[in-house]
Symmetry: C2
Subunit: 350 residues, 2 copies
């Protein structure tokens, strides 16, 4: 039984690596990934992760990083070095130390119809800054809280993978607020309104031993300082979401509860989407969860690419019952699909 | 060159597993570990981690856990089960899932002279509560902030290893405040006064990939919600603190800066003590660090035990230039040693 509730855009993929000019002439855009999405001034904005690498020479792997001052620095490894493990196209391990094979920054695109996106805001829109972002910034979620857009994203450095925060009201000036969740953490989705006078966030800590890759909930008086952490949802042994789960964009307020679209991956790193339903007055209480994925890799552009069998979302636009999910497909291209919120809710079981 | 600055108490060990009555008649106290220390009503209190296990039958391993309601529940594994990895005496792995081999709670001891400690406050002083503590509570630090004692401790459950917080003013009534740092995190030491109107904490997140076991600094308006995380100190490749480092008790205010005693371990899990010096007005700025350990396992009770070659501290008492460090030795017994603060400062190099 197929439970795929997605109506994919016939225009997919909406954006491809070739559509994007590299940030420096000799670098190559390898992948576009995992866009945040938002409405602003009558348009739909996507803030896309652009993953680049420097030119590769035969027999060597060249890795891009940043200095703490934000300047590019390339590391070179011999492919035949016995200390090198390059079996994962995303992460390289040398002598027990891990590096990313690409360096990501964020770039802005805008559309009036939600399917045709044009570059906006320049080629180097948001770039890693400081010691916590020397391996780049990734997978930006956008929450609108009052007049402010709150950006929460993955900040990567040799110190670890953590959650950074930047704020803007005009998409030109950004206030950098540092790390709001320490390593190892990703997939931070802010609720767009307060509940009982407090802000809430979903986040996804990971553990080297005891625990897993689960979705947690935290609480804050001010969006910057977070505590009272509780584990909300765990991976499901043997299921499509057995290895890791993480929230998508901001939870959607429905009459039945907060609807959270999340990604789940199995041990083979196949990424699908599912959903959770949380109590309106107490988001620590899980009311229901989808048993089967609401969307799974089936289109060619989802099955094949830099890292195939991946559907990953951190951006969505709601219009009545219609939820447009923007997603990274196969860690390579940007796609879109629409869902009925009520159809997703109908799949959430207690 | 020995750089051991410790003057060990001749009375060591001060407390042994046999000094402590198990929490239920058929259980065995396996280890006493890692006491927090504090002054109160003219006495010195130690809040000791007591690690217990149920009776063991030949051919089986019995593991103690708690239900979410705080009731004991024993899990039993066959020793010859091929899915079992019992190579680490502290952590068992079955079919890829990790369990602790012992269940820890916290027990209170008091002394008028700092060396002779008697039980205080009952056999079951502080016990794990709720879903975040079903594998027990460990390694409690005590910070005195105003009239309140703030307890920060390791909370362990299948959801992960995190930092819990409880507060008391009378050591009888405790306010449970849940988790203040999500997994994987330990070794949380609160500063005992505000700096620039904010509270600060040292903590030790760990990463499954990219990053390590480093000491981080966080900031809070209220001790419960934490943010603006920065990595303060990393492990030193090839050194005595190459594999993991973590803060001891609350930083000590000196004229030269905040003095932090920390533990460091190498790849062979040999735990020593070192020190960091942080700027008084900006604890994110590391001024100096000891190159060699200020204390390393040398006494028989430090080299041999449940897990040998371990000196681990999270409790200390300051009296002028004399710093009494209470520590867990070989993960088995509680010991004490005195240091000169000025001698430690003299070992801190830029």
């Amino acid at each position: 039984m197929s439970t795929d509730l997605a109506r994919r855009f016939p225009q997919n993929p909406l954006l491809c690596p070739g559509d994007v000019r590299p940030s420096r002439p000799d670098w190559q855009v390898v992948c576009l990934l995992n866009p945040g999405a938002f409405r602003w001034n009558g348009r739909i904005g996507l803030i896309v992760r652009v993953a680049e690498r420097p030119p590769q020479q035969p027999g060597f792997i060249s890795l891009p990083t940043l200095t703490e001052n934000g300047e590019a620095r390339v590391l070179v490894f011999r492919r035949d070095d016995p200390k090198l493990d390059a079996s994962d196209p995303r992460v390289l391990c040398y002598d027990g130390v891990h590096y990313l094979t690409t360096l990501s920054h964020l770039r802005l695109f805008a559309s009036t119809d939600g399917t045709n996106f044009a570059p906006a805001g320049g080629d180097l829109f948001l770039w890693g800054h400081g010691a916590a972002e020397t391996f780049g910034i990734e997978d930006c979620r956008v929450a609108r809280i009052g007049d402010t857009f709150e950006l929460t994203y993955t900040a990567v450095s040799p110190n670890g993978v953590a959650v950074g925060r930047r704020s803007t009201t005009d998409w030109k000036n950004f206030r950098e607020r540092g790390l709001i969740f320490p390593p190892h953490n990703k997939d931070c989705a802010l609720f767009e309104e307060q509940i009982g006078g407090m802000y809430y966030a979903l986040h996804r800590p990971s553990s080297p031993e005891i625990g897993g890759n689960f979705i947690w909930l935290a609480r804050s008086p001010d969006l910057q300082h977070w505590g009272s952490h509780v584990c909300l949802a765990r991976t499901q042994p043997g299921g499509w979401d057995s290895a890791r789960i993480g929230a998508g964009a901001a939870p959607i307020k429905t009459s039945r509860g907060w609807l959270v679209v999340y990604h789940g991956a199995d041990a083979a790193n196949r990424y699908c989407l599912g959903a959770l339903l949380l109590a309106l007055d107490d988001p620590a209480r899980v009311l229901a969860r989808t048993r089967e994925p609401i969307m799974q890799p089936s289109a060619d552009y989802e099955k094949n690419g830099f890292f195939g069998q991946v559907i990953f979302t951190n951006g969505q636009i709601l219009d009545g019952d219609t939820l447009t999910i923007y997603y990274g497909a196969a860690d390579t291209v940007i796609c879109g699909a629409t869902f009925s919120v009520n159809e997703i809710l109908a799949q959430c079981r207690e």
